[in-house]
Assembly symmetry: C2
Homo-oligomer: 133 residues x 2
């Protein structure tokens, strides 16, 4: 993967933003951050792993909740500073229990909630929530 490491431009904190998109429906599920180590683990295991900025640790998406993301394809943009991760999302991506994190829409001067909670977060995480970022 030398070509990959030559292409990816990590920021000064060693991070690159990664957009997760459901591979078949095209739904944008979330945006999170990856380190080189997170990318390596994702490619090796086929399960998406991010870097939690709040916890300063690898964040194996769904490790607590079971809402894992299976890697389908990993893409790099033209200037190497953003990743697009095509995934197969089990259950919901958002810590609020919604399928996608992008459930607030700016419409008519208001912020509308445009998606319902599919799964009660309490049943996903109990008392040990995953990081939201």
């Amino acid at each position: 993967m030398d070509a990959l490491w030559q292409a990816v431009r990590f920021d000064k904190d060693g991070l690159v933003p990664a957009i997760a998109q459901q591979h078949d429906t095209g739904e944008v599920l979330m945006m999170a951050w990856m380190t080189r180590e997170a990318i390596e683990e994702t490619l090796k295991t086929g399960q998406v792993c991010y870097w939690s900025r709040s916890r300063q640790a690898l964040w194996r998406k769904g490790e607590t909740s079971g809402q894992v993301q299976r890697l389908v394809d990993l893409r790099v943009d033209c200037d190497g500073d953003t990743l697009l991760v095509l995934v197969d999302q089990t259950g919901v991506a958002c810590h609020t229990g919604r399928r996608s994190c992008f459930y607030l829409a700016a419409r008519n001067g208001e912020l509308e909630t445009i998606a319902d909670v599919q799964t009660d977060p309490a049943t996903l995480y109990g008392e040990d929530p995953e990081p939201a970022e």
Copy 2:
């Protein structure tokens, strides 16, 4: 739009990442950055405006090339630190002349180019290219 400004969390440089997605096909076109002023202009004009980090100026997407993005819907994620901008993209989003910036895929240990150039960048920009970020 008080609710919007309460929801959006700009970083220490006053920026928030914005993912541009073609509203009907679901294709993720690019990721760029917005300031509060860029968001305000986007909402006011209905044409997507970013902040160019390289030029340190508002970046009216397509101003030079004609490859504009008409705003369809603007969404905020659960923790307010990423925007998803649904757009109707005229022509190509990428400065390389490809529809999407995410045309490199990490496959089988290599980086494959998975999309062709649709429009010669020279015809889009002449000698005054738009910023790539």
